[in-house]
Subunit: 400 residues, 2 copies
């Protein structure tokens, strides 16, 4: 299968590319490298040093003999997107190419706008290019479990059977996203659903939980192939950040009470889920929605797990509760369906103490690279964050 | 009350401004005059000649002694929006300032993108400016009944009580919009709901039906005060277009079977609804949603009404059914709640033969201005429309 991976230089996109290449697919990485520029803007960096894109690709070819295409394209520009889709004639496009941080989107108007424009326009360009050039191409789009929010009813996979005043319908599941980033994914979902209905496109929306772990068999096979290990408060996800704090023998910081419950997934399962979706494509005209996570935990229970594993390894740490910079329920019902990917054959990696220990060991091994200040939350959902760039207009300009 | 009307130069915004001025409010019109440029792009024009914005405002002051402020601001630019909100310190902002044509948004990628960027970014800038400068300001946002689509259950006013697996919640009503324009309004609704929840803003979303009629007591009082009478296939709404076709003794063109049922509202009721929403503001933290229409009809029944009134006046016309350029159900359940504005005191103007006759007479009186070619649909939902501009990048550039 010829597959374009938009965002192929990113945390999830790069390991996915290696897995799909291993499976024998022809993979083209499409990226504008903006994630690396956001690091410069924020003063952050991956804990594991990541190679330049060309070096990664050369290393993979050296090790496996398989080549990966590189297309330096900004998805928000219509003509370059049409051009690359026309040349590659993909059977599928995996779309990781979006601004993926909730805190980043909450800094100020400029960052909210650049997030929504970048994400929504990029997806629109892909939809139009598929319609006009490769209408049978399967779009596999990364969404987020955060689109649903925390309703007081069970979360289903994309749709809800509703009975109301004696009549029935199957409707898009109502969404209550919790940041301008999560909102951008909801906007995408509505746009994609429309394109499937009106143009007969085929798409799969993977509503992914919070990803933890940073290694797959492929990325662990050579230092030049590692993917990002983000631990800062803007791009780092909860478990990864906790492991770095424990490795530094600093307090594990839980936002608020820690009763916030979410779906989580090991990076190894992320790449398997994408592969399963690709190899079992959605039928024409359908937006299929899979909830892509394997286990539910509260943030507090995750912190306790990291504390236990770290303490057993002789590291001195503790759990502290910070004032929650986010506006979110800290005690709520949460029960989300996630059977569709299991039905396709996913064999999950449940969280183990060994995975937590490996994350902590990686952090210990690279502790000279840790900028501990960046783990402190600086962006408040109510008031925004410290300006990281001089003028608002510049941010939009550099992003789109 | 100090009120900013974004889109104050437009079809609905202008008559609303005059009504609110009559009611004693201090009104500032905010507009970038882009609607007039879209006419140039499409080769279309209002049937009634509309005065330049400065001339309209001068005429209103001459006739009533009341002054209206003018701010030539592009809502997609953050700093000018902050600047005007800071200077005016509005008690309320009425937001009509969006690209409002479904067919325009379906022309191609560039027009879909410019519609969504223009509408979503403009609303985001208003939300942030309100949060940072006038947090008690009431945002009255024009949505559309088209956000709901045509579900097989009753449409409620913004929210749905759901029982699922024995648990209950009140959730945002699931949306199934029918064009990239309608999608942009759904995106807005989600963004506004989030801002109200997280920042405690107060907002009212007016999900308006299809507007017909082009006159209010204020606009009819002087030729310099008239508002737009659009009859073309891109910006003209069904009833207005049918009246022009009948006046020209040309066939009344119904798309497909004509069983498409929608909510409709007289322009006089539009301005009353906005006034009622303003004078009964939403409480802090709430996005209140009103379905702003007064009657439901099928498109076919509207065409039959125009045919009857026109025939009685000696005009020779007939109904013809065109292949539907849109992708929409032509036979479906439709029952939408619309009691909230009635509860606030709205006294509706039901559609009368006199209103239809007046619309036809206006068209007859100005028939030398009619470019009949522009009434034919040229934009297909499946394949888009003829390019109206040379390069896609230009459209985005000129709009945002």
């Amino acid at each position: 299968m010829r597959i374009i991976i938009a965002g192929g230089d990113g945390f999830c996109g790069w390991p996915t590319a290696l897995r799909l290449s291993t499976a024998g697919h022809q993979v083209v990485l499409l990226d504008n490298l903006i994630r690396r520029r956001w690091d410069e803007e924020l003063g952050t960096a991956s804990l594991l040093p990541i190679a330049e894109l060309e070096e990664r690709v050369a290393a993979w070819e050296e090790l496996t003999g398989a080549s990966l295409g590189i297309e330096l394209v900004d998805l928000t520009q219509t003509e370059p997107v049409y051009d690359v889709v026309e040349r590659i004639q993909p059977d599928a496009i995996v779309h990781f190419g979006e601004q993926s941080s909730a805190p980043y989107s909450m800094i100020d108007a400029a960052h909210a706008i650049s997030t929504q424009v970048n994400n929504v326009v990029g997806t629109l360009n892909l939809l139009f290019a598929i319609r006009d050039l490769v209408p049978n191409c399967h779009l596999v789009k990364l969404g987020t479990m955060g689109e649903y929010g925390t309703p007081n009813i069970d979360i289903e996979e994309g749709y809800l059977e509703v009975e109301h005043h004696g009549r029935r319908d199957r409707l898009p599941y109502p969404k209550q996203p919790g940041s301008f980033y999560h909102l951008s994914k909801v906007h995408d979902s509505h746009n994609i659903l429309f394109a499937c209905r009106v143009w007969g496109l085929r798409a799969t929306d993977l509503n992914q939980g919070v990803v933890y772990n940073v290694q797959t068999p492929e990325t662990a096979s050579d230092p030049r192939l590692v993917t990002r290990y983000d631990y800062d408060s803007v791009f780092g996800t909860a478990l990864n950040r906790f492991c770095v704090q424990a490795a530094m023998q600093q307090p594990i910081t839980v936002y608020g009470d820690g009763g916030q419950t979410r779906g989580f997934i090991d990076l190894r399962d992320t790449v398997s889920c994408v592969q399963l979706a690709l190899e079992h494509p959605a039928p024409p005209g359908e937006l299929r929605v899979f909830n892509q996570f394997t286990e539910q935990w509260s943030v507090r229970s995750l912190a306790e797990r990291v504390l236990r594993v770290a303490t057993a390894r002789g590291l001195s740490t503790e759990i502290v509760h910070l004032d929650n910079p986010r506006v979110e329920a800290e005690s709520h019902y949460y029960n989300a369906a996630h059977s569709a990917l299991l039905d396709l054959g996913l064999e999950p990696h449940p969280l183990t103490d060994e995975t937590v220990a490996a994350m902590i060991e990686l952090a210990v091994a690279h502790r000279e690279r840790i900028n501990f200040e960046t783990t402190a939350p600086t962006i408040d959902w109510r008031t925004g964050g410290p300006p990281t760039v001089p003028a608002s207009g510049d941010v939009l300009g550099s992003t789109v």
